[in-house]
């Protein structure tokens, strides 16, 4: 139909998305599979395959391969993907909500805020306590952020600066909690500042995925409203968006999702900033596509970063956030400088 071709021609990202989704699937599965095969213990690819096949009822795998692949690597890799996907999604959502591509949950202070709750939660109840504490503190920090955003809608760079200040302050509080507490129950300070997936277990994965599924669902459902909000808050209201409600719901969702990831893996920086930035030129700015793409991109990014983190200096494991920061830091600087030159 004539109308159809006109509408397609009017979307410059239409053809790019056509090859992006299959490629994204290949990358996701590829990164996960490679991560399952590489590690401190040598396991051949055929052993990985036989472990996975044995789980669905085909053939048998050696006990040792099963213990390493299924007991350690699968939960860790899945958790990495889940954490990365959540952070990528939250980054894209926050950038849409605040109409600012410099927004990132950890840079804005949500991650550091959640860390305080997660550290206290860890004292009270181990990994589940950490997840619950992160969840609550993440939402609380979101509300603090909302108060700050309200007062500075005019200048988006200011929002980021406020967030950075908030984050630095809250990170310091995490330090007080960590150093004041029993070292055997609270993860060390580098966990909270740089993140790590070394605590991954099936228990952690199971607990977190329930909460994350709800939060992720809610955030994905806001895609259309985020599109409308990019016209500006007043325009969005003219078109029937309850902007106050959307802002509140989205911030709760972001706070909850980030809080849970912090309880699981500490603060893995720059994922939320970097991934949407890379995805936008490929799939376009419509949130319906951008949010999904950012989830996949974030998942792949963290899985591969964690692979580097545990193999680069093997047998020593470095924090995964160190890897993401090495890549993300320069990009953030470049973005900030580019923004300066645009504003000037």
């Amino acid at each position: 139909m004539k109308d159809e071709s006109w509408l397609k021609a009017a979307d410059p990202h239409f053809s790019r998305r056509a090859w992006f989704w299959p490629l994204a699937t290949v990358f996701s599965l590829g990164s996960i599979f490679i991560s399952l095969a590489i590690g401190a213990v040598d396991i051949s690819i055929s052993d990985v395959v036989s472990v996975l096949l044995a789980k669905v009822g085909f053939g048998e795998a050696s006990v040792q391969a099963d213990a390493v692949v299924w007991g350690i690597r699968v939960p860790r890799v899945l958790l990495g993907f889940l954490v990365g996907a959540t952070l990528g999604l939250v980054g894209a959502v926050l950038q849409g909500l605040l109409r600012n591509e410099l927004a990132d949950p950890h840079l804005l202070g949500i991650g550091p805020g959640a860390s305080i709750g997660a550290a206290l939660g860890a004292i009270a109840g181990g990994i589940r306590g950490a997840i619950a504490g992160g969840f609550v503190a993440g939402i609380a920090t979101s509300f603090v952020l909302r108060g700050l955003v309200r007062r500075s809608t005019i200048d988006p760079t200011r929002i980021v600066l406020l967030g950075v200040a908030l984050g630095a302050m809250l990170s310091a509080f995490v330090g007080f909690v960590v150093f004041g507490a029993d070292r055997s129950v609270v993860p060390p300070i580098e966990f909270w500042l740089l993140g790590s997936l070394s605590g991954a277990t099936w228990l952690a994965l199971g607990t977190a995925s329930v909460v994350l599924a709800v939060a992720i669902g809610g955030l994905l459902a806001s895609a259309r409203n985020l599109d409308l909000l990019s016209l500006g808050e007043i325009e969005a209201r003219h078109l029937g968006v309850d902007t106050n409600l959307v802002t509140t719901v989205v911030l709760i969702g972001c706070g909850a999702a980030v809080g849970v990831t912090v309880g699981l893996s500490g603060v893995v920086v720059f994922v939320g900033l970097l991934v949407p930035f890379l995805m936008r030129p490929i799939v376009g700015s419509k949130h319906r596509y951008l949010l999904f793409a950012s989830m996949i991109g974030g998942g792949v990014f963290v899985v591969l970063a964690d692979l580097l983190a545990r193999t680069l200096l093997s047998p020593i494991e470095i924090p995964v956030g160190l890897v993401t920061a090495v890549i993300g830091g320069p990009v953030f600087l470049w973005l900030l400088l580019r923004k300066d030159s645009q504003d000037a």
């Binding site: 410059p12 990019s230 016209l231 003219h238 078109l239 700015s285």
Partner: protein, 262 residues
Amino acid sequence: MPDPILIAEGVTYRVGDITLVEHVDLVARPGEVIAILGPNGAGKTTLLRLLAGDLLPDAGSITVNKVDVCSAVPRELAKVRSMMRQGGIRDIPFTALAVVKMGRHPHRNDENASRDSERAAIRSAMGRTDTLHLAGRTFATLSGGEQTRVVMARVFAQAAPLVLLDEPTTALDVAHQERVLREMRQLAAEGACVIAVLHDLNAAAFYADRIVLMNESIVEDEGSPGEVLRAGLLSDVYGQTMTVAEHPTRGCPLVLITDTVR
């Protein structure tokens, strides 16, 4: 006469000690084009924003299609009024088509909406504003005038019975100004009510049924172009001498600037 679509009574808006809009009454009916005129700072835009529900009045009431603007939920309001702000939209990353499509948001769950009817609405809105050829362009890369027309298309696509326009012709060349003004008339002919803040007195003289002339936060005069566009009144309100003749072809008043020092 059809029932009013908009009833504003005693609308007053203050910021601190300053009154921006004072006790304005306005009744508007379907099929009407109303132009709000007045010098800078007269309160025109503030009045329009009050009518749109962007600002809450300190006193008075505003209803659109019997919906109380101050307490309505955004969804409800978006079905009965559309609004084009002056310089509202900035550099957004979407295509012109995507922006116009957003105008259909309030009708997303309408019972009789179909894919084809939605597309027809979008196409017609873009045709009327001469923006079909811009459909695939990124909004941020368009010129000021093109952006204005795309936003106008979005407003048309919204298909609300009350259309509020803040200086819709400001960034446009003469031909596109006339086109937008004609389309404004056409919307009224189709049963909408259009209220536009204009600076061009002669555009108001020809295209408006009624003129609301504001000065220093109050409505100075209201009536047909022939009634309101009087040389003495305009010269007083704007502080610039003017004379009013008859337009040679349009059969409406023609306002001319003169140089008499007052």
